[in-house]
């Protein structure tokens, strides 16, 4: 009997030393092996086998058109067999196909939305999310743009009072207390112009307004196709006046300025094009790229004008480019080169003072400018000295007035010329004495 008990006790002890230790060892090993995705207990062949079975599952889901599951199983297969290039390639293809389909359905949804076919739009956004559950645009449309609005946003103007706003929106100036409540205003004080107010939409009003706004926007979209930009801007402006956050109206406004900018660019009116593009929301379409292209063209035009010595035009074009992009090196260089060329032109016409003024407007560290300033200063010094000596000659010939003129020329070119200053004072004294004697 004791033997049997001992055997069992031995089993249990052995079990604890083998089985449970095995568990502990397994648990201990997991973090490293797990993160590496490999385990000594699961040889590579087993991983490969598993991977191909999950790959198979992925295919089954793909056939059933359950795309997220197909992708998930493919990712599992890939994690188990990271060296398998076919899986990696397939995953890249799936991801790119889904992204492409999501993009196409989203675009379709936006088109339906703009045509006010909301049910169709919703379906397209749902399909988009099936391909890409994280698609921000589709989520925004589903959660916000397709949802009924509770508020409209109004930006106050000069002269607005809470009562006048209440009358404008609710046809009743006594509903001003609603504006106070929903905007946490302390009293019935007149809001400062430019204050953004949230105005709750009351049922009858909102229905009427919503329909009217929608009709206006549909009309504006048709006008946009006919390129009647001013009319589109008027409608979008009116809608935004009532509802500052109306994205469709904002989109229309962006579209108009974008098209106008492109038109001006085609007409080579680059500064005007940049000004117009600046009115577009930077996130709209490829407006940033469009502006960069216009700036490039603008600077190319400026370069050709520089060759024709049309300095003022060159400077205006380059400054416009810098207005948009303060760090534009080409524009900066063009400005410095323009001042340098203009300055050198003045030097050659012996208009040294003016040349120095022009050169001083540019970046003193610019190679051309630095050299031109040094040159003009050197020439001015020489010229100053020549005038000084000519003045001395006149002085010795007792032609004091002519001497003074020469020395004044000297000082104009070199204000620090001490001898010229002293000589002018002496010559003037002598002139005065001569006058008294005469």
């Amino acid at each position: 009997m004791k033997k049997i008990i001992n055997v069992f006790l031995l089993y249990i002890i052995l079990f604890f030393f083998t089985g449970c230790f095995a568990v502990m060892e397994f648990k201990k090993e997991t973090p490293e092996k797990i993160s590496a995705g490999k385990s000594e207990k699961n040889p590579e062949s087993a991983e490969t086998f598993l991977s191909s079975s999950y790959q198979q599952k992925s295919l089954e889901y793909e056939k059933k058109n359950e795309l997220q599951m197909a992708l998930y199983y493919l990712q599992i297969a890939g994690s188990l067999n990271p060296d398998d290039k076919i899986i990696a390639k397939r995953m890249a293809v799936l991801k790119s196909t889904f992204a492409d389909k999501a993009r196409r359905h989203f675009k379709k949804g936006v088109v339906y939305f703009k045509k006010n076919k909301l049910k169709y739009a919703r379906k397209q956004f749902l399909i988009t999310l099936r391909y890409n559950p994280e698609h921000k645009g589709a989520l925004d449309y589903l959660k916000n743009r397709l949802a009924p609005k509770e508020y409209i946003i109004y930006k106050t103007k000069k002269g607005d009072t809470l009562k006048s706003i209440s009358r404008k929106f609710y046809s009743d100036n006594k509903k001003d207390f609603l504006i106070v409540y929903f905007n946490n205003l302390e009293t019935n004080k007149k809001p400062a112009p430019g204050t953004t107010l949230k105005l709750p939409m009351l049922k009858s009003y909102s229905t009427h307004l919503a329909i009217s706004i929608r009709n206006d926007l549909i009309k504006a979209r048709n006008l946009l196709e006919e390129k009647r930009y001013e009319e589109v801007l008027n409608i979008a402006g009116e809608v935004l006046e009532y509802d500052l956050m109306n994205r469709e109206a904002a989109d229309l406004k962006n579209a108009v300025y974008y098209h106008m900018g492109m038109q001006l660019s085609r007409e080579e009116k680059y500064p005007e094009a940049i000004n117009t593009f600046k009115k577009v929301d930077p996130k709209y379409k490829d407006v940033k790229r469009a502006i960069r292209e216009v700036i490039d063209k603008d600077l190319m035009k400026a370069n050709s004008l520089l060759r024709e010595e049309q300095y003022e035009e060159v400077l205006a074009l380059a400054e416009k480019a810098l207005d948009y992009d303060k760090s534009n090196k080409v524009a900066k260089d063009l400005i410095n080169t323009t001042y340098c060329q203009k300055g050198r032109g003045l030097i050659s016409r012996k208009n040294y003072v003016e040349a120095l003024k022009v050169l001083n407007k540019a970046d003193a560290l610019h190679d051309c400018i630095e050299k031109a300033i040094a040159d003009v200063k050197g020439v001015m010094k020489k010229e100053a000295e020549a005038h000084y000596l000519q003045g001395v000659k006149y002085f010795l010939n007792q032609e004091l007035s002519s001497a003074i003129i020469e020395w004044e020329e000297t000082l104009a070119l070199n204000p620090d010329h001490k001898k010229a200053k002293e000589n002018i004072i002496n010559a003037r004294r002598l002139l005065e004495k001569y006058k008294k004697v005469e």
Binding site: M1, I4, I5, F8, Y11, I12, F15, G19, C20, A22, V23, F26, K27, T30, K33, I34, S35, G37, S39, K41, N42, L50, K64, N65, E66, Q68, M69, Y72, Q75, I76, S79, L80, R122, K123, L126, I127, L129, R130, P133, L139, L142, K143, L146, A147, P148, E150, Y151, D172, K174, K175, F177, L178, Y181, F182, P200, M201, L202, K203, S206
Partner: protein
């Protein structure tokens, strides 16, 4: 006194099962953990809830394993995946989208049904039907995560809500819900508390501590869309503001709990009411429009299906739509 041979058998008989028990208890379920999933090989002692508890820290998330692997139970030696990220946000499929029914009950009675009163037997049969047919009762927070595309929920999800705060909930519905392990949300209007037929503050507090969700349904249960005779617009607005803010403040004070959801008395609402709810910080609100809820339902007009006292199980089943067919490709 037992003979030695018999004693040997007895000892053997007692120790051998003990050994097996220890062997089974200590046997590991093999697991390999990756960033987005875990591969597990099940053992005889593993169940879906035990593995959900072990690897997802929540035994009620067994459905995630079940739905991902398309399995109902586990077999020893079976290898399967535990997903670590959502794989079905919004419940969108090629042939349609998921919808979530929100059931609305009011009163309960032992055996005398009324229009708004469900009998104990009916309620038990309805809960049993949910349990036996694979429905998962989820909370309002889970519903919101689904509506906001943050998390996925079980394919067959349902929400249970009970309106007004009648004391019959405590006597009849609560034990049944507890028996099936279901949760529920109680939308209570605060003026009713203290009435002889209503739950007391103490009962409400206890229910809250037991995990039942207590939410707001105005102060007086007035119809929020109807202006009373001779009531000026300003007085109507003041009344709406009070109805919506008072119960929220009172629950905060009495239960130290934030009210995030709101049920409209008679299911009636309008734009002004919703605007006030948004200003007061409510996350969502519920009507009684009989329909199930897709991921794109308006958060301040979430549908609920009222379960009336005369509903048999067939009629009840009609309110449990969890999928809407429409081609999504």
């Amino acid at each position: 006194m037992a003979k030695p041979a018999n004693r040997r058998k007895t000892v053997f008989g007692r120790l051998f099962p003990l050994y097996l028990l220890l062997l089974a208890a200590c046997a590991p379920s093999q697991a390999r953990i990756y960033d987005d999933f875990i591969i597990v090989k099940a053992t005889a002692v593993d169940t879906l809830p035990s593995l959900a508890h072990k690897y997802l820290n929540d035994p009620t998330k067994d459905w995630l394993i079940s739905e991902f692997n398309d399995i109902k139970t586990l077999d020893a030696g079976q290898e399967f995946i535990i997903p670590l990220r959502p794989f079905d946000k919004g419940g969108l499929k090629v042939n349609g989208y998921q919808t979530v029914p929100v059931l609305a009950y009011h009163g309960f009675s032992k055996d005398s049904p009324g229009k708004m009163t469900v009998t104990e037997a009916s309620f038990e049969a309805q809960m049993k039907y949910l349990m036996e047919n694979g429905y998962h009762v989820i909370s309002l927070d889970q519903l919101m995560d689904f509506l906001e595309f943050k998390e996925q929920i079980p394919e067959k999800s349902v929400v249970i809500t009970i309106d007004n705060g009648l004391s019959s909930f405590s006597d009849i519905a609560f034990p049944i819900l507890k028996k099936f392990g279901f949760t529920a949300t109680l939308f209570i209007y605060t003026d009713f508390i203290g009435n002889s037929k209503a739950l007391s503050w103490e009962q409400i507090n206890n229910l809250s501590k037991k995990g039942f969700d207590i939410q707001c349904k105005t102060k007086t249960h007035r119809n929020l869309t109807k202006r009373k005779k001779k009531e000026s617009f300003k007085d109507y607005f003041k009344s709406l503001e009070m109805e919506i803010s008072y119960s929220k403040k009172l629950f905060k004070q009495k239960l130290n709990k934030e009210c995030s959801y709101f049920a409209y008395p008679y299911g009636a609402t309008n734009n002004l009411v919703v605007a006030i709810l948004i200003k007061q910080g409510y996350r969502a609100a519920f009507t009684v429009k009989r329909a199930s809820n897709p991921c794109f339902v308006d958060r301040y007009r979430i549908h609920r299906s009222v379960i009336y006292g005369d509903y048999d199980i067939e009629r009840f089943k009609k309110n449990l739509s969890v999928f809407n067919k429409i081609k999504l490709k």
